[in-house]
Amino acid sequence: MTVTPSSRMGPVLIATAFILLAAVSWYGVQQIPVSKFGGPVGPRSFPIIVTTGLAICGVLLTLSALRGTMRPEDGARGGAPWQLWLFVAGLAINLLLIRPIGYPLASAGMFTCIALAFGASRPLHVAGIGLVFGFAAYAAFRQFLGIHIGQGVLGTLGAAVFGVS
């Protein structure tokens, strides 16, 4: 396999990320206060070792990326861009809506997006399963483990209609 500039892009980015992380970490090390009364090895020693290691790995990864020895796994790419976007949309729905509309509904939305992204047909059917699953998980955790996952608007509705929350 020949090394094309585009197949180098990813590995170079990863290697750069490691070097950046080492830089951030170095800045972090400088922020650690050192006590005069501490022992010979203070709170900075271990972080310095880790930071140095990250920097060395970053450089070696860059070399390996430029030589083309590191590249994405071979093999066909299966997922189309729309599938990935639908997946991301699912996560975004969960992230943005979990507080306002509650866990069961937000989860159902995310479930539907992800299942459709993976090629499930019949969106309404999927959404129904997502709703049942979301409520079941919510009820199970609340009932058996006493973990209250936010219920959002449903709680308010429940309180208004049935007088419970």
């Binding site: 990813g10 990863i14 490691f18 992380l21 970490s25 972090g28 922020q31 650690i32 206060p33 006590s35 501490g38 022992g39 010979p40 090895v41 203070g42 709170p43 271990f46 972080p47 880790v50 930071t51 290691g53 990250l54 790995c57 070696l60 990864l61 590191m70 590249r71 994405p72 796994e73 093999g75 790419r77 299966g78 997922g79 189309a80 990935l84 997946f87 699912g90 996560l91 969960n94 992230l95 979990i98 507080r99 866990y103 995310m110 479930f111 992800i114 299942a115 993976f118 090629g119 499930a120 999927v126 997502g130 699953f133 998980a137 955790f141 483990l145 006493g146 973990i147 996952i149 936010g150």
Partner: protein
């Protein structure tokens, strides 16, 4: 004989109805996650870690042990019937097991896997019972320098043995160690790497990292790579029992698999995966009919399935006696111990004797339960494989939300979870192993503590790590492992030049 008395004490606790229930929950859950592709025991334990806030330690560890063992039993079912291994450690089982299933001997393959798992799991647990107190006693002599050297060795082994490249393994490990630095320094009480952010001062939650890497990252990777998932499930025909001939061909591989799996499980060699490969090649070499391999040789199922269960028992030895996890799942077990304020290690057998022996006794019980769950009820587990993959992946992410947001109720955590998921996807894409990140994150703070203690003993002189034979040995073996690929490269290069002198 004191041990036997201790073990009996453990049994009397583990056999209480309530604890049997926890064991049943654990083994059922473990088998289920073993069967389901995409969910492993590590991810499951991570999702259940928050339970440590609400149930007592004995119950939690009985359940965790059931999951740990159960995943090994369940993994074989998927390998045999679907040719897609549920776990890394059942990869080899698919080679011969799926071929057996295609030839109508799925029942024999499932039975040899389940009985082999039981035999190996039980022998492994006996070995664990016998050796752990001895190792724990020996480890009492370890000082901080020996401990640090041992952890160093474990780090190197974990990052060089798993995955394709030592460089990528070490990079992943350092990433984990760095994540472990974030938070309050436990010796001075000062915040580190928090960059003034109060939320970071609690440190990065293990649950977020494990669930982000294993659940979110893995699902995106599946989507990117395959777009859809699923395969055809082979039918289980004939009796779920083995023929006389299958028995005759299975028992030796079971014992050999156990002999390979247990010792390799105890050393930091990455858990249960490598022993299965070794067992497979061993059976292939010893077989009188090597031509059958690849076409459904039962030895190729019996050996590796025994090896992975024995290895799981082996992995518990360094975890309980030294406090050193050698696989992701045991690393997460360690963080469960920490969340109860218990430090696994040599002192565990003294300070938490009742708990340890209850856990060990529950391992025997879990094995019996798993045999019963997996042999007669295998048809039930096959039903799980009928869950369409899109629902499975959707479900994994819904559960990931429960395990993270459900506990903290913080949107920031959910955001961090997805960010770590993106990182996991990138790592998967470029073939970085994920296990070293988790092990580095969990074991890093312990490594630092031992490092500082050791250095303080000798006023900051690093020669303390070469102060004793054991410590020197650990460090040297670690360095050797680190340089092994380089040595191999130099060797093959020289050999090639000698063999083919006229080629540049």
């Amino acid at each position: 004989m004191e041990q036997l008395a201790n073990l009996m004490g453990g049994f009397s606790a583990a056999l209480q109805v309530q604890n049997l229930m926890w064991s049943l929950v654990g083994t059922v859950l473990g088998t289920a996650v073993g069967v389901l592709p995409g969910i492993g025991p590590g991810l499951t334990l991570a999702l259940l870690l928050p339970l440590t806030y609400s149930i007592d330690p004995a119950s939690a560890f009985i359940m965790f042990a059931g999951i740990f063992y159960g995943a090994m039993y369940g993994g074989s079912t998927t390998s045999i019937l679907l040719n897609t291994p549920g776990e890394g450690s059942s990869m080899v089982t698919a080679l011969e097991g799926y071929q057996m299933a295609r030839r109508g001997r799925a029942a024999g393959a499932l039975a040899t896997a389940a009985i082999g798992s039981f035999v190996a799991g039980t022998i492994g647990t006996i070995a664990l019972t016998a050796f752990s107190p001895i190792i724990a006693e020996a480890a009492l002599l370890f000082g901080p320098a020996e401990y640090f050297s041992l952890i160093f060795l474990a780090f190197v082994a974990v990052s060089s043995v798993m995955g394709q490249s030592v460089l990528r393994g070490v990079s992943a490990l350092l990433l984990g160690l760095w994540l472990g630095l974030i938070g309050i320094d436990n010796q001075t009480g000062q915040p580190r790497m928090t960059f003034g952010n109060l939320a970071l001062s609690d440190g990065i939650d293990v649950v977020l990292v494990a669930v982000g890497l294993f659940a979110v990252g893995e699902v995106v990777y599946q989507l990117y790579r395959h777009g859809s998932a699923g395969g055809t499930v082979e039918k289980v025909t004939g009796s779920v029992w083995m023929t006389r001939d299958e028995w005759r061909r299975s028992w030796k591989p079971w014992l050999r698999g156990t002999a390979i799996g247990f010792p390799l499980g105890t050393i930091p060699a990455g858990g249960a995966e490598i022993p299965t490969f070794l067992s497979y090649f061993c059976e292939k070499r010893l077989s009188k009919h090597p031509e059958e391999f690849g076409k459904g040789a039962i030895e190729g199922v019996a050996g590796p399935e025994a090896a992975n269960n024995a290895a799981v028992a082996g992995v518990l030895v360094p975890l309980l006696t030294l406090g050193i996890p050698t696989s992701v799942t045991s690393a997460i077990m360690l963080s469960a111990f920490q969340s109860y304020g218990i430090t696994p290690g040599p002192l565990l057998f003294e300070t938490q004797s009742a708990l340890v022996w209850t856990i060990i006794a529950s391992l025997y019980i879990a094995n019996v339960m798993l045999l019963l769950l997996n042999l007669p009820l295998v048809g039930l587990w096959v039903q799980l494989l009928k869950i369409p993959a899109p629902y499975l992946y959707g479900g994994i992410l819904v559960m990931a939300t429960v395990g993270t947001y459900g506990i903290s109720r913080s949107i920031e955590d959910l955001f961090i979870l997805y960010a770590i998921g993106a990182l996991g996807f990138a790592m998967r894409m470029f073939d970085f192993p994920i296990a070293p990140v988790i092990i580095g994150l969990i074991l890093g703070p312990i490594a630092e503590q031992e490092f500082r203690r050791a250095m303080t003993l000798k006023q900051g002189d690093p020669s303390i790590f070469f102060g004793s034979t054991i410590s020197t040995l650990f460090i040297l073996v670690g360095l050797l492992l680190l340089c092994l690929p380089l040595l191999r490269k130099v060797l093959t290069y020289t050999v090639r030049r000698v063999v083919q002198p006229d080629r540049g």
